[in-house]
Amino acid sequence: MSLKRKDLTGIASLSPDEIMLILETADSFKEVTGREIKKVPALRGKTVVNFFFEPSTRTRTSFELAAKRLSADVINFSPSSSSIVKGESLLDTARNIEAMQADIIVLRHPSAGAAETLARGVKSSVINAGDGWHEHPTQALLDLFTLREKKLEFKGLRVAIVGDLAHSRVARSNIYALTKLGAEVRAVGPPTMIPACLEQLGVRVYYDMDEALHGVDVIMMLRLQLERQGRALFPTIREYSRLYGLTADRLRLAEPGALVMHPGPVNRGVEIAPEVADSFSSVILDQVANGVAVRMGVLYLLSGAN
């Protein structure tokens, strides 16, 4: 079976079967990452360009490692400082990269829709590594992979996503992914951080975190963009943390053994208490590890190498 699409720009357009195919493909690459020699020749001779318009260490590194473990040639290209200043358009820059025979472009961009715009304009495959507040599909896929690895069934799984959902691409991609696979998603945050009509995406909205956490199997904490204080979204970090921070006490409201996830980087003591981040419940480092395997799977499926 293969992924019959040129690009991965979001979860919204994926079918449940496609999602499961990516996860199953990632399974076999997870095995590779555990070997002594963590490399397979699947993408030998292919070129992958990491095209990052926003600073990102972990996502870029994860894609780079994934591509290298598949034996692809990797170029890291961060035009934020050069081309944008010169006024070169996203498409022009991308066509230049394409002219250098890039097979796959991995794009991180501050504008929602940038990956779709790019995908329409170039022949190379495009993987969205985060576009504005729109989507971050590989993050959602690695989150699913991690849940599956912990032997959780998606159907009926109760997941709380807590924080600034309005400005979160991770939240959107996870809402699309989890609802497609039959999970029950609870969106938790202050009303200023819940985007319009969110219930219509098939989630329940809670403003009270304690109420929301009752009986959940998974708690996904979102990173609070600290610079949003002063934009009238929340009064102070102190109050935000008191109302929506995940503490050990709050964790006890969830199902016993509930998992705690976070896309990183963590603001310790703000959205998540240090003892929770480091507890047995936390799978934050599993998420990072699985990111490489999942991205190998996505690169492999889109490269047409199978």
């Binding site: 919204a12 358009s89 996203l90 498409l91 961009h109 504008s111 929602a112 829709g113 940038a114 779709e116 715009t117 576009d131 504005g132 507040w133 729109h134 989507e135 691409r169 959107r172 985007p195 319009a196 009509c197 969110l198 219509q200 995406l201």
Partner: protein, 429 residues
């Protein structure tokens, strides 16, 4: 020079609606009636007959809201190309917004625009002057000078006057010249960073929304100020159900307000943005089905007086950008007629009412001596084949820009001949 338009159905809203001929001489309408004959002339006189059998003969359309981009943005549109686009769409008079570079906030710019329009020789151009210097929302522009130079209204358009005191003073001051004050109603704090309607689609796409309240808040403010000052208020491109409701109530109470709606705001919803299509990005944004219904009801019951295009040309390199970065606006002059006639087909408006929204009503809103076929009036006439089906092909636009979300639409109704001041300036070939 004489032109006789024979065999058509004449609609001059409120005056004539039926089969009639129209005789034009020396740039003026001479007569509208049955079996008119071409006046006899000596050798060499220019006589021209137009067969309008099966077609409509209407006053040339009046557009209260266009952006001709000159001076400053000639790569998007010039007064020449913009007015060529106008006459191709049946518009013989256009009111151009002051957000040029430099801003039309003084007599010299107004005169420049009028000179360029005369040189172009297409549609009549009526400049709209700025409310404040540089449209910065601080100090009043020399509104008396603008009026004297030929401005027919004042507006800060896309940079609406946020300071309510400045708006109050502008309305009061404009009273001295009986000038309409136009407002693009948008609370810039509520809309900051927004690039489409706030709702389900903006949430799905992760784009910052512009809530309907950003418009409604300013409509409410402006109506209150119009009531306070007694000024003539004109509301540009009404896009929300809330605006329609408030204008209806204000009119019932006798406040002097007129309102316009744009074809895109009654033809498309926010769904058009779904694939991050920057050609569906405009301000105010495309809203919801409920808003469209309210606008149609407002057009039907007279709450919304005028259909205007907000013709806003942008070059491909402007629009081919990330959605949030692309500029707002679409061209509209060459698609307004069929989109308006679709309201007739749908039963929202009678044909005569639809014609009035494009002719008599806009002329009246800005006190322009236009939009009528009364004998003695300037001979601005459009002949329309209302049954003619065609497909919107932007590459055929007369406008310099092609930024339309209607490409490929199968539409009905076409201007076949446009006459300005007794001269044929456009014929559909």
């Amino acid at each position: 020079m004489a032109i006789l338009i024979q065999g058509g159905r004449v609609i001059d809203p409120g005056r004539v609606n039926g089969p009639a001929d129209v005789l034009i001489e020396n740039g003026k309408i001479v007569a509208v009636g049955h079996n008119l004959a071409m006046p006899s002339r000596g050798q060499g006189a220019s006589l021209h007959t137009i067969d309008a059998t099966g077609q409509l003969v209407l006053p040339g359309f009046v557009d209260l809201h266009v952006h001709l981009r000159e001076p400053g943005f000639e790569y998007k549109e010039t007064i020449q190309t913009g007015t060529a686009s106008a006459v191709a769409g049946g518009f013989t008079s256009v009111c151009c917004m002051p957000n040029t570079n430099p801003v039309n906030d003084n007599q010299a710019i107004t005169e420049f625009i009028l000179d360029q329009a005369r040189a172009a020789g297409n549609a009549h151009v009526f400049p709209v002057g700025a409310v404040t210097k540089g449209s910065e929302g601080k100090e009043l522009a020399e509104i008396g000078d603008l009026r004297r130079a030929g401005c027919v209204a004042i507006s800060d358009d896309g940079r609406p006057v946020m300071n309510s005191l400045v708006m109050r003073r502008a309305m009061e001051y404009a009273l001295a010249f009986d000038l309409p004050v136009i407002d693009h109603c948008e609370d810039l704090h509520l809309s900051e960073g927004g690039c489409m309607n706030e709702g389900l689609v903006s949430t799905q796409l992760g784009l910052q929304g512009i809530p309907a309240a950003a418009e409604d808040v300013m409509v409410a403010r402006n109506l209150a100020l119009a009531e306070l000052t007694g000024a003539r208020l004109h509301l540009a491109h009404v896009s929300t159900a809330g605006s329609v409701r408030m204008v209806r109530e204000a009119k019932a109470r006798g406040i002097r307000v007129t309102a316009e709606a744009c074809p895109h705001h009654f033809s498309l919803t926010e769904e058009a943005v779904r694939d991050f299509n920057t050609l569906a990005k405009m301000n105010p944004p495309l809203r919801t089905w409920q808003d469209i219904q309210a606008i149609k009801e407002g057009l039907r019951d007279g709450t919304i007086d005028v259909i205007a295009t907000d013709h806003a040309p942008h070059a491909p390199q402007d629009k081919q950008r990330e959605f949030a970065e692309a500029p707002f606006g679409i061209v509209g002059l060459e698609t307004a007629l069929p989109l308006t006639l679709a309201l007739v087909e749908e039963g929202v408006l009678s044909l005569e009412a639809a014609v009035a929204k494009l002719t008599t009503a806009p002329a009246q809103a800005f006190s322009l001596p236009k939009g009528t076929l009364a004998p003695g009036a300037d001979a601005d006439v459009v002949v329309v084949d209302a049954q003619r089906q065609w497909e919107v092909d932007p590459s055929r636009f007369r406008s310099k820009s092609t930024n339309t979300p209607f490409a490929g639409w199968k539409v009905k109704g076409l201007a076949t001949t446009t006459i300005v001041a007794g001269k044929v300036v456009y014929e559909f070939a």
